[in-house]
Amino acid sequence: MKVGIVAASRTAYGELPRWRPHELTYLAVEEALAKIGLPFRDGYQDIVTCSSDHWEGMTLTDIRHGEVAGGHLGPGEEKVCDDGANAVLLGCVKILSGQADTVLVTACCKETEVLDPSVIENFAFDVPFQQLLGLDFTQAAALQAVQYMDRTGLLPEDLARAVIEARRKGKDNADVFCREEVSEEEVRDSPMLAHPITTLQRRPFCDGAVALVLASEDKALSLSPQPVWVTGLGSCCEAHNLGDRDLSSPEALRAAAARAYGMAGIRDPAAEIDLAEISDHYAHQFYLWCEGLGLCEDGSAARRLQAGNFDRQGPLPVNPSGGLLCGVPRYVAGANAVMEAFEQLRGEAASRSVGKPPRIAVAHGTSGPAGQHHCVIVLERGF
């Protein structure tokens, strides 16, 4: 049996003080259901939500996200507390298990309500050792960037190029937060967060939500003439202690990708995959994740970006949406990557469309410090 994606919708991402978090979820849900005429609540048997109690300052945020997704006295609801790609993965698992034939998946985060995100991130580190160091995710990523640069000879201008290229693509994406192009000087001279990461090399924090409708093979075909199949799912977790990991070598990502590719029957990802949407929370991670996903040789991603290989018109477009460096909220990120891939495969990506119509796409999400956990989803055009 296969799982199909039949509809997806997102809010525009940005500073959205007019909306409460679950109202953002509702906007995405309402639009996704309307696209295929699926009735609210009765049209699906299960809901997977993705949100964070810490970012909303509320216990059980799925009380409100579940409610606006139609969870009252009808379909069941489960909340995934990692990146949104995991919520899509659980949605697929539910369908494959036979417990549901249609599942609504939502992800939401309102990052701009939090005064000091570092405090929340610091609480993700283990109590006895790393938390006491005062680490946050940017500092963990900075350690990773330094190690990666040291190992591969990546230069500060390469980091800047990842941002410049992301923003150049993001200019055509009406839904991302930051759509202005930036120069190498601007990236280099933006305030330093943790060496070598400057402000523009970090994903801008913003608000938004995304909703997707997943369905079993038969149901998907009856709901949409243009389903996109989920053919591969893989996730993997690495050790927590940063000192126990080689931060410049994403083992968990490689393992997650191997699992997803194995399930999808992909032997040579660089040759077979037509498009990738990856979760580059920091500039250096664009390169690191490209290599971890097997989209290019280890240590070659920077060269390939410079050569235009990852352009929309290039042989293997990566992040034609602009990616996270243009501003997509955390938690939403991985689910948004799935939605971007879905739209590209259906030819609905408008000005973000890649040159050659893609058949196979890969979407990626990550959570935890310096990419401790990864989730990889392979999608295939079903028409």
Binding site: I63, S235, A239
Partner: protein
């Protein structure tokens, strides 16, 4: 269902109000180790992990990242699912789904709570919508005092009905080495001496704040048959949410409990629940809720549960054993509580519950978890060879 899941191993820690001897990770390791020993499996055999707890109670962010090292999930698929009080039940459901999907052969679910490291009441206070409901700051006690008040008013139950439930649960807990409160309670009069929290709800009617962890190992049918333990088959599971839309001041609703049980019983051809099911491990955080909810699940008619309690029907050696483990009123490590219901049910169906083993022939088990704004997760398990 694509592949039939089975529970092949369970493990839990002992429970106390404080476990200063271990940190969160170490607490989880105790349960994981116990489950692996029970299943006689080496840790490397586990293909995926499902973990969870109350997200805000210990204040930990992305708890699964730190937990990964301690549950053995490094290099493996891991997913964190948190649904409040129902978390433990949800962990089991998601583990069942992982196996039923055909993607994994052996999956471990781990739930825990270490309430002394955070502030449960502060966490619970933020459960209400900040715009509309945050003024309700009573937490769980106010809700269950209302359950008790309505139960007495509507069924004519005497004021000692809750204490009778506690007496039964205390007797059960005394036989369960894993239970938190193993009090030596001998008579209803003795229980009735506990002070009121909010009348008619007494201290003895309410669950404690416990620290502990629980883990279960779920296998596909093919693998389960090759493992040493008698498999406990997972027949079905469901979850029903009642969201925060109930009328203020009006009677609380039990619609989630009714709908979940009805859905499971109908899907699995259970017409006479008390006859067809031989043991119930239900998540009732207060004694009065246990009475009201046994009726809501459809085990007996409205207003009959307290009478059956008086007749001793729900004792572990009675005709319809309810919470032979001592239940939630004696042990409540929130993120693990729902999973303990599943684990205890599995032990009963295997015949491995020791001193609190039911005397009735174990055939089918019913376990639930409850939480949120009125959410029920329910599972139906059956013994091998049924």
């Amino acid at each position: 269902m694509a592949i039939r899941p089975a529970i092949v191993g369970v493990g839990q820690t002992y429970h106390r109000s404080k476990r200063p001897d271990v940190n969160i990770g170490e607490l989880c390791t105790e349960a994981v180790r116990a489950a692996l020993e029970d299943a006689k499996l080496p840790p490397e055999k586990i293909g995926a992990f499902v973990v969870g707890n109350m997200e805000l109670f210990e204040g930990r962010y992305m708890q699964d990242m730190w937990q990964a090292d301690f549950v053995g999930a490094v290099g493996k698929p891991l997913i964190r699912v948190t649904t409040g009080g129902t978390t433990g039940g949800t962990l089991a459901s998601v583990a069942f789904e992982h196996v039923a999907s055909g993607m994994f052969d052996l999956v471990m679910a781990v739930g825990f709570e270490k309430q002394s490291e955070g502030d449960t009441r502060a966490g619970l206070k933020t459960v209400a919508d900040p715009l509309w409901n945050r003024w309700q700051t009573t937490g769980a006690i106010g809700y269950f005092a209302r359950v008790a008040t309505f139960y007495i008013k509507e069924t004519g139950a005497p004021e000692d009905a809750g204490s009778r439930v506690r007496l039964r649960l205390a007797r059960h807990a005394a036989r369960n080495p894993h239970a938190h409160l193993r009090m030596d309670l001998e008579s209803v009069d003795q229980v009735m001496k506990f002070p009121y929290l909010i009348p008619p709800l007494r201290q003895s009617d309410m669950c404690p704040a416990s620290e502990g962890a629980c883990a279960i190992i779920v296998a596909s049918e093919e693998t389960a048959r090759k493992l040493p333990r008698k498999p406990v088959w997972v027949d079905d599971w469901t979850s029903v949410h009642k969201e925060m839309v109930y009328v203020r001041g009006g009677r609380h609703s039990t619609a989630d409990l009714e709908m979940a049980a009805d859905r499971l019983f109908r899907r699995n051809g259970i017409r006479e629940p008390m006859k067809d099911i031989s043991v119930a491990e239900i998540y009732a955080p207060a004694t009065w809720a246990e009475l009201e909810w046994l009726e809501a699940y459809g085990f007996c008619e409205k207003g009959d549960a307290w009478k059956l309690e008086e007749k001793g029907q729900f004792h572990f050696d009675g005709p319809f054993p309810v919470n032979p483990s001592g239940g939630v009123v004696c042990t409540n490590p929130i993120g693990a509580t729902g999973l303990i219901r599943v684990a205890e049910c599995a032990l009963q169906l295997r015949g491995d519950a020791g001193e609190h083993q039911i005397t009735r022939k174990p055939t089918r088990g019913f376990s639930t978890a409850w939480g949120g704004s009125g959410w029920t997760v329910a599972h139906l398990l059956s013994a091998d060879g049924l």
